[in-house]
């Protein structure tokens, strides 16, 4: 049973991760993780020191746990660029600083890196207000390109078809078929009845304004990054899904760090970078759960938490993992789940790391909508 240590600054509490019930545990692994947490208070999602926090926390954890596999996410530049208008020179400095921080980790840790960017950010050109539909439009805080359309009326379809800013409207089955063809053992992990009847897809630079989108209007959103940059000395890959097998293949001979830098495109990567496929046909993964889970499992995961699904019609009374945001299941096939060596994750993409990678111990910030609540360590196992 996994244990969560919550650190709300100068105060900690311990819980069963799945049930959320308070739980006492003082195993060496839990005590160690709690100690690391208390030494590294989180500066905040858009604070200049937020990425340094990732490196410093990871190095501290490594010095105590000696893992063979490390998964990191650096996200400060993504949050900052998404929400605040910076001069172009400042934007470039932010992205370059994120890469520099990732490289600082590599230099100090000696781990062999696999650095993955989620691709460029571009200015928000406009948004489509779908609140007036007869049916229901559902998007999410972190998605710009996709919006679920539930139960549209004929008038709604006429309206949607008249929007120049909409790239396409895809029936549910067509969306499923697209991925089924690319991934025959595709898993749809949510109740299909909660999936949208149609997926509305915005043109590049456009976003949706619907139930579920943020009160903080984004300044920049992800470009249509059908390919994303990857740099690693471990080998050549062509698809996001190939990263997992590449890492697993080399873990017997290398200590490896999988490092995500969100919002960063190829121009900030070294010349040895490769561009790898990120999605299928017209569907590219945005920075978020589907990207993380596809990367970690080596399988397409657009339907773990499908874009535009009616999340609010899930049975909230039965929900598990109350400290894991909207993620409510631990997938099989994740990168570190059955790895016999030691593994850790550290990141400032809140509440993703412990659910996405299957590592033994993870530490991540606990921030919601940029509000800094503290940090959380999750100890899935400490028996290695």
């Amino acid at each position: 049973m996994s244990l969560a240590v919550i650190d709300a600054r100068e105060w900690q509490n311990r819980f069963d991760l799945e049930t959320g019930q308070p739980r006492k545990s003082d195993t060496p692994g839990v005590e160690m993780a709690a100690g690391v947490l208390s030494r590294h208070p989180y500066p905040g999602d858009v604070d200049e020191q937020a990425n340094q926090w990732v490196t410093d926390t990871a190095l501290d954890l490594i010095s105590h746990y000696d893992p063979d596999l490390v998964c990191l996410s650096y996200v400060q530049q993504f949050f900052s660029d998404r929400h605040f208008k910076h001069p172009e020179t400042e934007r470039e400095r932010l992205f370059a600083a994120a890469m520099a921080e990732a490289n600082r980790f590599v230099d100090l840790s000696g781990f062999t890196p696999v650095i993955v960017g989620t691709g460029d950010m571009i200015p928000l050109a406009g948004d489509m207000d779908l609140s007036g539909l007869d049916g229901l439009a559902v998007s999410s805080n972190w998605s710009a390109r996709y919006c679920g359309i539930h139960g549209p009326s004929p008038r709604d379809m006429d309206f949607l078809n008249s929007l120049d800013t909409l790239e396409r409207i895809v029936p549910k089955q067509e969306w499923i078929d697209l991925f089924q063809a690319a991934q025959p053992d595709l898993e749809i992990l949510q109740d299909p009845r909660l999936m949208p009847d149609f997926l509305a897809v915005a043109r590049e630079g456009q976003a949706f304004k619907t139930m579920g989108t943020t009160l903080r209007k984004p300044v920049h959103i992800p470009a249509n990054n059908f390919q994303v940059p990857v740099v690693t000395p471990l080998g050549i890959i062509n698809d996001l899904r190939e990263i997992k097998p590449l890492i697993r293949e080399h873990l017997s001979t290398h200590k490896i760090a999988l490092i995500l830098v969100e919002g960063v495109g190829e121009s900030f990567f070294p010349e040895s970078r490769r561009l790898v496929q990120n999605g299928v046909d017209w569907f590219c993964y945005e920075p978020g759960d589907a990207f993380y889970l596809t990367l970690s499992t080596g399988r397409h995961q657009p339907f773990a938490y499908p874009a535009g699904f009616r999340f609010f019609d899930k049975d909230a009374d039965a929900v598990k993992f109350p400290f894991s945001g909207y993620m409510d299941m631990i997938l099989g096939h994740t990168l570190a789940l059955n790895f016999p060596g030691k593994s850790i994750a550290v990141g400032n993409r809140s509440m993703f790391m412990h659910m996405a990678f299957g590592v033994d111990i993870s530490i991540e910030c606990f921030a919601r909508n940029l509000f800094n609540q503290g940090c959380m360590a999750v100890v899935h196992r400490d028996d290695k």
């Binding site: 709300a8 900690q12 539930h150 549209p152 909230a316 606990f366 609540q373």
Partner: protein, 339 residues
Amino acid sequence: MKCQFCERTCDLTKGRSFCGMYMEENGRVKERFPDQWCTYTPSRIESVPFYHAYPGARSMIIGTAGCNFRCRYCSNGFIACKDPADLQEVMYTLPADRLVAMAKKMGCHNIVFNVNEPAVSLPSLERVKYYARKEEIPMGCLTNGYTTESATRLMMEIFSFVHIGLKGFSNAFYHEFVGIPDMAPILRNIRMFAQTCHVEIASPVIEDVNDHELFDIARFIHDIRPDIPWHVFRLLPEHHMKESLYPNIDRMDQALETSRKLLPYIYFHNFVGSRWVNTLCPDCGHTVIKRFSLGCSGDRLDEFLAPGNTCPECGTPIPILGTRVAWNEKQSVSWEAVS
């Protein structure tokens, strides 16, 4: 021509109101941005946080823009403290009937106004009430309580459950941290609301600033009715207080100790993992409602153990508006069903 919605009573002949939401037109107070909402999202009622109203319910959270306060620590400063005119591009235009239909479409049991101050949008909310009442959807709100008596009475007609911020217990605090000269209208309005509405009260605690006023607040609540739930929020340093220290949780817990002798329903939270969010029977101490605390606007019901709103151990009544509501009691419905 003075605005009569809040105690600032702004002179509208000189321009718009302090909150930026009202103007004068033909000798009448007029909303500048009627039917403009910044959000319409289903959320748990505990996240508002209402702990003693319709436990487990699915609320449709709404808000507009603007506020009559300027709290230095405002968590929603990016909506509440900006010029509403500058925010209109992020707003949704939803006339009252469509807003209520949206609540039905999303399977919501009630509608709660909680992003900014409802007093800045009372005419729009009055229209929402008209349609909500037809659909038997109750309405609630968070308010800072700085309304005129007439506006308070109007709010008492619109809202059946009200969460009032009592941010300190001195005019000095309100003057320095909120920007108003006199807190007396707030105390008056809490007493008024408590006559007909379900009331919960929230107080942010800022270490070494207003923690010494906690017992005064508790005594005030006790004198109205001891069973009013009181939420003590650990300050989340935001807005103009971003550089402030987070209050120490253990010290703030100790500071509440004497107040607990006066009030049986004190909740200390607004931080993830709080262990002071459960409801205990005031007579036998049995846990009757268990909750998770995820920090600001993230709390949720875990277990409701008070069938019939009474303690299962000793039968003591627990003050709750309505009854336990299953989240999926109403599923979202198609547009044909609401049109």
